[in-house]
């Protein structure tokens, strides 16, 4: 029923003029909100004129033209589609107006509008299709344009509220589900290097989602459309209003720039937007990094609002567990309550205590709890007070450890970062806040990348693929996981300094944090080395990983098995955090291959590389500086004592000469100095034993002249006292002085609960080594019947006469059992084998021990190996029976 031919030329010309002027206004003012409202006006007027030309007034009783979606919201971006609904009273009306609808749509295209029309009857609008929820959601933003007002009123007042309230659960659940899927697609983060203004978390889609959920919640309460007029409702932006204005300006800019509906803010677009200060209050030229930080701040506001509303969506089914979770439970020792997985600050409680705030983040890291919206606001408001209340020293380190070690560490750290707490504790982190590094690989900003790295390591607790399972095995073997995670947190802070090596800069920045946390020298050195070397494994993987020279060069940089494990896990997590596609199974397998090769190299080359003082004067000086001057005997010639410094320098040189390089790599200068003092004291007491309690283990160090059976005797005494040896190493220098270290768990807490027993324990060791007591007698007095193992480990022995030029390497993998080490050592003694190096390790129920052996000063020949092998197999079998 087309009334008159359409004046398309005039309409097109008018639209083009309006569009040009609109663009010029935007270029001048940068006001995105005004631009999209004005375009809505222009297109609305145009459509009304089109429709009135096509359908005379008297014939419009049974059809209405309705703006929906962005057009309905009066938010028509420069190149967005125009969503229009042709609403028909019933099925008979639709064919009657078919030609008009077609003509109208065609005219829109001819004029230059991208029409997105839909035709529905009233009855069809009553049905909600879960597969086409977008249509129902678009009706939330409906607006009358032309046609029958009566029909529209019936639709808006009588039909739509009933449909929405009836299908409320379906609509809300599906909205939340679609949002979660979209967020997951974008890594659940706003910190993309090249974000999509519309779809990314924190983008316009999230802004609209928040509007829809707020509207739907309000409808549920009032059982009708909200009393506020549509404009007023959408006008109550409050805090997100500036974010909305900013996002609108950016999207307008992108549309004009590309000439189409392109919403990707790539680097070039960022540069241009910054140059033109798009979205900023002050016009001028802005630095792209500063401009992007504004983007992330605005996106964070929008994302936070949307996330809180999504979280508040009621679950689909009421379960007993979920009802249980809804119960409001106080968190002991704090003013917080836990309800439905969210931590809420009690009404009237003040946020003034840094200690309890940090405890809350520890809970978040452990359980994955979230903070309620109001609690987040109150913490953010209290930042100036908290800034002067934040703890330092061991308490701070304990709190930070709780956060870092929790499986939800990244989640807790992100919240701390968003609220400004993280930068209060670690100001060094400020430099990488929303920092964009422009390269073709990194998908996220540096801070977000750091949180992903931490997350990737924690996710190894539940490995999915084979290559993840292998790497996951390294996690429980870490000596100091807390220090490892601290390294991850700090490893890229150096990127804030744009020049030089960021690894070195990160180490420098970490020094002040070490001081605030009051970490000791050993702890600092662990973190320093991990951060300093964190790129070495990736660099080695770009070479031939099957070439022994590549493995050797890499292993020498890493130096110790402990560092190697940390670096392997860090490299895995770091690559995976660059982008979701970066860590392929191919790359993961190469990583594992390099790890194995380097680990074997570190174990098998121990005997080859020995220390010679002349080779490293700097290191030698560092140790000498720690040794206090000692009195020395007068010189026979002069009658005067030689200079103390000359005396202990020579003695130190003699002590270190011939010790494996591994000894120096695994001890700090302070520890070496301490063990040198023990060696000096051998003059007075030929057996020196030192005890050191560590965080979760204990350690004894034995320094004494070497003799057969020494290792077996010490192992026996430890076993007799109920100690479980988890690590040990035994080294000897060129002068035949051994330095053996045993790390063990005190199964019965004997030493921890009875301080006086420490001296008796040490005396027992001395007496055993001087044969004043029998080790066999000590061991018989204990009940050492081995418990049934949970995991059976077969015994494997592997001899290697090529690993060292002067020793035979023997690797033993067997079931860890009390008394095991003693039995192995007794086998060696019985076979007249001398241990030159021992490396003891325990992995769950498996003991993995590596020994470098000689017999008569030479490697073991085939016959000796065969005999020793038979003896070991027999002894180990007897031990287990």
């Amino acid at each position: 029923m087309v009334a008159n031919p359409l004046p398309l030329g005039r309409l097109r010309s008018r639209y083009e003029d309006d569009f040009t002027q609109l663009r010029q206004n935007f270029e001048r003012t940068g006001d995105g909100s005004a631009t999209i409202r004005r375009r809505s006006q222009i297109v609305g007027a145009l459509l009304c004129e089109l429709w009135s030309q096509l359908v005379p007034g008297s014939a419009q009783n049974e059809i209405a033209v309705v703006a929906t979606g962005g057009f309905g919201r009066r938010e028509l971006f420069p190149c967005s589609d125009v969503d229009v609904l042709f609403l028909c009273a019933n099925e008979k009306v639709e064919p009657a107006y078919g030609d008009s609808i077609r003509a109208c749509t065609q005219a829109m295209w001819d004029i230059g509008l991208r029409a997105s029309p839909a035709t529905r009857t009233l009855r069809e609008c009553e049905r909600v299709h879960p597969d086409n929820l977008e249509f129902t959601v678009s009706l939330l933003d409906r607006r009358f344009l032309a046609g029958s007002r009566a029909l529209y009123a019936k639709f808006e007042t009588d039909l739509l509220p009933v449909v929405i309230l009836r299908e409320w659960d379906t609509i809300v659940q599906n909205l939340a589900e679609m949002a979660r899927a979209r967020h997951a697609k974008y890594g659940n983060t706003i910190f993309h290097v090249e974000p999509n203004v519309k779809e990314c978390p924190g983008g316009l889609r999230d802004y609209h989602l928040a509007q829809w959920l707020t509207l739907l919640n309000s409808m549920r309460e009032e059982k009708a459309w909200p009393r506020a007029a549509a404009d007023d409702f959408y006008g109550t932006h409050d805090e997100p209003e500036s974010a909305y204005d900013f996002l609108s300006a950016v999207r307008c800019f992108l549309h004009y720039r590309a000439g189409r509906d392109d919403n990707t803010l790539d680097w070039h677009a960022q540069d241009e937007a910054a140059a033109r200060s798009i979205g900023l209050e002050t016009r001028g030229t802005s630095d792209p990094a500063y401009w992007m930080r504004t983007w992330y701040r605005q996106a964070r506001t929008v994302y936070r609002r949307a996330s809180l509303l999504i979280d508040a969506v009621p679950p689909p089914r009421r379960s007993f567990y979920k009802q249980f979770r809804r119960k409001r439970t106080p968190v002991p020792g704090t003013d917080f309550f836990l309800e439905d997985g969210r931590l809420d600050l009690a009404e009237g409680a003040r946020v003034h205590d840094g200690d309890s705030i940090l405890q809350i983040f520890g809970l978040m890291a452990k359980h994955g709890y979230r903070l309620s919206h109001s609690t987040e606001d109150r913490i953010a408001d209290a930042l100036p007070v908290l800034a002067v209340q934040m703890p330092e020293g061991p308490f701070l380190w304990n709190c930070l450890r709780e956060v870092l070690l929790g499986p939800w560490a990244a989640h807790a750290l992100r919240t701390m970062h968003a609220l400004g707490i993280l930068e209060l504790l670690i100001p060094e982190f400020h430099g990488i806040d929303a920092l964009v590094i422009r390269d073709t690989w990194h998908r996220y900003t540096v801070d977000e990348h750091t949180f992903h790295v931490i997350d990737n390591v924690h996710r190894l607790r539940q490995p999915q693929h084979d290559w993840e399972k292998r790497l996951a095995g390294l996690l429980p073997e870490l000596d100091r996981p807390d220090l490892f995670f601290l390294s991850l947190l700090m490893h890229d802070t150096g990127k804030a300094r744009r020049n030089g090596s960021h690894a070195s800069a990160s180490v420098e920045l970490s020094e002040s944090l070490f001081a605030r946390l009051e970490l000791d020298a050993d702890e600092r050195e662990v973190v320093r080395r991990v951060i300093h070397n964190h790129l070495e494994m990736s660099a080695a993987m770009r070479r031939d990983i099957f070439d022994t020279e590549t493995v050797r060069a890499f292993a020498e940089k890493v130096a110790t098995p402990s560092q190697l494990k940390m670096l392997t896990l860090m490299t895995y997590a770091d690559i995976g955090a660059v982008s979701p596609e970066a860590l392929t199974p191919w790359k993961a397998e190469s990583l594992w291959q390099l790890y194995m090769s380097a680990s074997n190299f570190l174990d098998r080359s121990v005997d080859e590389i020995r220390y010679h003082a002349a080779a490293d004067p700097a290191f030698f000086s560092r140790i000498t500086a720690l040794i206090p001057a000692l009195p020395a005997a007068p010189s026979a010639a002069s009658g005067r004592p030689p200079a103390a410094s000359a005396v202990h320098t020579e003695e130190l040189r003699s002590f270190l000469e011939g010790l494996p390089q591994r000894y120096l790599n695994t001890r700090s200068p302070e520890q070496i100095a301490s063990q040198f003092r023990l060696a000096q004291a051998l003059r007075d007491q030929p057996i020196q034993v030192a005890f050191r309690p560590l965080r979760q283990l204990n350690e004894i160090t034995l320094v004494t002249p070497d003799r057969p059976g020494l290792f077996a005797d010490v192992a026996g005494v430890l076993s007799a006292w109920g100690m479980n040896i988890v690590k040990a190493d035994a080294f000897s220098n060129a002068a035949g002085i051994i330095v053996d270290t045993f790390q063990f768990t005190d199964t019965y807490q004997t030493l921890e609960l009875n301080v006086s027993e420490v001296e008796r324990f040490l005396q027992n060791i001395r007496d055993a080594l001087t044969h004043k007591v029998s080790v066999d007698h000590l061991m018989r007095s204990r009940n050492h019947k081995p418990a049934r193992p949970r995991v059976a480990v077969d015994t494997r022995l592997e001899f290697d006469n090529d690993a060292s030029s002067h020793s035979t390497l023997l690797q033993i993998v067997t079931q860890d059992t009390p008394g095991l080490l003693r039995e192995i050592a007794l086998s060696f003694t019985a076979a007249r084998c001398n241990i030159t190096v021992a490396l003891i390790d325990t992995e769950g129920e498996a003991a993995i021990d590596v020994f470098y052996l000689t017999k008569g000063g030479l490697k073991l020949d085939d016959a000796a190996q065969s005999s020793l092998s038979a003896s070991l197999v027999h002894r180990l079998a007897q031990l287990r029976s």
Binding site: D544, F546, S590, Q593, M596, E798, A846
Partner: protein, 112 residues
């Protein structure tokens, strides 16, 4: 037009890419691959367990070039990927009937 498929050592990728660019070859596809020739893989013992890598990690580079560029491309690959050791890789050449640019339906060598 000819298709060149080269299986090389991963550590040689950067050198080969640079050599190809220098030779005027700009379009190529890089794939992570696994394979072995006569050397039949690698075995490593770690903590009492044997890990056998039957299929070693390799990189496969594919490109389609005009006939007159083929020799240059092959020479660039050979000279930059060679180490002289077993495992250097192989190059395969095949004829291409046609090439089409998706964006604008351009066909033939000009679509390369």
């Amino acid at each position: 037009m000819q298709k060149i498929e080269a299986v090389i050592q991963p550590s040689k990728l950067d050198a080969v890419k640079d050599a190809l660019l220098e030779a005027g070859i700009e379009g190529m596809t890089i794939l992570e691959a696994r394979g072995h020739g006569r050397q039949k893989g690698h075995t490593e013992f770690y903590r009492g367990r044997e890990y056998t890598v039957d299929l070693l990690p390799k990189i496969k580079i594919e490109m389609v070039v005009r006939d007159e560029m083929a020799d240059q491309a092959i020479q660039a690959i050979v000279s930059s990927a060679r180490t002289g050791k077993i495992g250097d890789g192989k190059i395969f050449i095949s004829k291409i009937d046609d090439a089409i640019r998706i964006r604008n339906d351009e066909r033939g060598p000009s679509a390369l």
